[in-house]
Symmetry: C2
Subunit: 190 residues, 2 copies
DNA sequence: GTCTATAGAGTGATAGAC
DNA sequence: GTCTATCACTCTATAGAC
């Protein structure tokens, strides 16, 4: 069921996460899979392609997760809460993959870079549209839309990495803390 | 006045920032300095030592900047504003160095890693003490001290990187935006 | 689908001349 | 303080046997 192609991906994710993409060799990955390094090239055309495969599927998963969360929420504030909650949740549950996706962009070729950054921009765009809608309805405070969206995303991304590492709190609890912090920073003072 | 040792550091900072530490070779640095790669080793014992030299001096500068800002501020809220303002300012003005310091920890040896992380912990500790003091005085909302300090620092660090890149706003203006966003997220609702 | 063997290039670092 | 030359090693990737 698993298959060697999946095993290679899993081992690569673990090593890229722990050592970084450049510090990990094809040899390391092969050793982790219990095969010879030449066998890697039967499944993936190159090391860079393996990285791209990991990043692209992670970004697709992240986008799907966001869209699914928004589909079942009504109103701007509820949608923003769902977006933040889903973001934190996905980053906690797929910590290795999302860490790689946000820190190894430099390892990609120009063409692959465009594809991944395109997906990232689409993701950020959804948050920015929510902020704009909230301001139009007078729910959110005025302020630079890009500054706010970057602030929210960074905050939650980094938060997810740290708190998984500390292991003190449950996923939903962590997501809730960020949900409240962000909404508080964004909403108009009553 | 400059000296080759400084030139090497400057070129290395630029390349580590643009390409990353692992993707930059001693050869690249030498080319950028207009010398042969063997000459690098007269000034620095190894590539890793050069990275450490850059990171350590950056962390020292960051700590000094913070302490200087706190020394001329009175009261917890003013000190927190000064801390955030100084943090953003330093990250904007020494963007390359601070980016390296926060993204290339994996390149350090175990001993050097301890030194740099020790300075980072001292820096974070100052923010955490400010949050604790603010809560004791009833100025700041209750909430996990570590979560808050991480949130503040990440937010401001990442913000500094983005807005320098966009070049739309002046340093003090950017610092002020973050100062307000953070204090708003942290203060007790009146 | 995995193996052995190797090509071909680049790496960090050192020795010793000047 | 910088040079040329080189060592010893590692890297990604390929060829061809099984």
């Amino acid at each position: 069921m698993a298959g060697m192609k999946e095993t290679i991906k899993t081992v690569a994710v673990d090593l890229f996460y722990r050592q970084g993409y450049f510090a990990t060799s094809i040899s390391d990955i092969a050793k982790g899979c219990g095969i010879q390094k030449a066998s890697i090239y039967y499944h993936y055309p190159s090391k860079e392609d393996l990285l791209f495969f990991i990043m692209e599927s992670t970004m697709d998963g992240l986008l799907d997760h966001l869209k699914a969360g928004l589909a079942v929420s009504d109103g701007v504030e509820a949608k923003m809460r769902a977006a933040v909650h889903g973001h934190v949740q996905f980053h906690l549950e797929q910590q290795k993959e999302t860490f790689i996706a946000s820190s190894e962009l430099r390892g990609l070729s120009a063409e692959h870079y465009e594809v991944v950054v395109g997906k990232r921009d689409e993701y950020e765009g959804i948050f920015q549209d929510l902020i704009k809608a909230g301001r139009k309805q007078g729910i959110f405070d005025t302020g630079d839309v890009k500054i706010l969206s970057y602030a929210v995303l960074t905050l939650c991304t980094a938060g997810a990495f740290w708190f998984k590492a500390e292991g003190r709190l449950a996923v939903d609890h962590i997501a809730e803390i960020y949900e409240n912090f962000v909404l508080k920073g964004m909403k108009k003072p009553v």
